[in-house]
Symmetry: C2
Subunit: 215 residues, 2 copies
DNA sequence: AAATAAGTGAAGGCACACCTTCGTTTGTCG
DNA sequence: CGACAAACGAAGGTGTGCCTTCACTTATTT
């Protein structure tokens, strides 16, 4: 019981923790993962030191907030496995994931960035495994082009991030146009000349692990 | 003669100006348009004050360096107008422009950003006018899908920027895969369900004019 | 060769973001 | 209720990038 009590935060601390989490969710959504921590503290109406005490560094806060979003990704990918039509499952998943990016700048960055923490990478791996199965099913059904791979979805997310980076505020539907075009190219019955090879998983992993892009 | 002499820089100043330009070209290519000016000065082996005297602010230096790249863009677009095959002209142009982005991080940003200076915007407008003609020709020839517009090329450049932002260093060929996929979707004989509408030119203009993305 | 206009770079001021320290306040438990 | 562990927040130190100032140097002109 004592150990249990000592594990719990004091009531005021718990309240502040919630305020910080809420503010961080909004700030990451609106400004991306690089938003100054002082801005989050300000939005939470909490002193910066309080934030640092609760979350020792940015990574810790990112991890706390993004865990939910990663869970959404897993859920979407595993739900797609259950959809009836293999093509609809695939196309719907692509649209859903890109929609998650459109709705949240932090998620946009998170989906194309690797983190040094298993709390985020384990769900990502689980989601990508489901994605691979969705892709495989649609390929076997003959509706998805045979040369499409899981890496291609990552490329699509990176491309979507690029469009959103420029258009999120001023043309918030523009990403749908790009994704519509890309999905059109994914249909097996529309395959033209052979594509350049997909990057290796290793290279893509490295791409996602290096310092956050552009930022 | 005096006026002319007074227009010219002193010899040492001219040399330093060249050093700065050369260093800036490399730095913008490798690190993007946001590279610290002090880093450019360091690379040029020149004091930061010397750089500031020659180029009063970052915009001035960007303008000086990017003018050449914008000229390349114009040249490529106008050359495409002369190519024999309308589809090859279009596809070749897309690949060329995206290749320019792949080769230079500063160009990647420049092609999806508006600048407040006519020295860069006039060539961009001229290039885009040629692009529109290339698109129109390929559409009329029946090889490019009828709903493709000039705005779509901008979306493609933004998408390419997103992929390059993550993969430039570790998977430098990845962009070819994305562009191959997208070009596949551009063929008229592969049109599937109707695309979501393209963003208006006005909205895209606004998107390109707002603060540089991510960065 | 002297005069002078132009150029140079060391040093510093400003703004911002990160993160820590430390004296004060406040829940919580006996 | 009183004591103490925990939490709070004001203030400050560090690092970095922007841009300017000013005392000194150097190319050019006559």
């Amino acid at each position: 019981m004592e150990a249990c009590k000592r594990r719990r935060l004091r009531r005021d601390a718990e309240i502040n923790r919630e305020r910080i989490m809420t503010a961080a969710r909004v700030a990451f959504r609106e400004r991306g993962l690089d938003v100054p921590l002082e801005e989050i503290a300000r939005r939470a109406e909490v002193n910066i030191a309080t934030l640092y005490r609760r979350f020792p560094d940015r990574e810790a806060l990112i991890e706390a907030i993004l865990a939910d979003h990663m869970a959404d990704f897993v859920e979407a990918a595993e739900a797609a496995e259950l959809a009836d039509d293999p093509w609809e499952a695939f196309a719907g998943l692509v649209e859903h994931v890109c929609g998650m990016q459109a709705a949240d700048q932090g998620v946009t960055e998170a989906l194309t960035t690797c983190f040094p923490t298993a709390a985020l990478e384990a769900p990502r791996a689980r989601a990508m495994a489901a994605v691979d199965r969705v892709i495989e099913r649609a390929r076997r059904a003959g509706t998805l082009r045979a040369d499409f791979t899981g890496q291609d979805l990552i490329l699509i997310m990176m491309a979507n991030a690029g469009v959103l980076g420029s258009t999120r505020c001023t043309a918030p539907q523009a990403w749908r146009r790009l994704i519509g075009l890309i999905l059109d190219a994914c249909r097996a019955d529309r395959v033209g000349p052979p594509l350049p090879p997909a990057p290796s998983t290793k290279d893509l992993q490295a791409a996602m692990s290096s310092a956050r892009p552009q930022r």
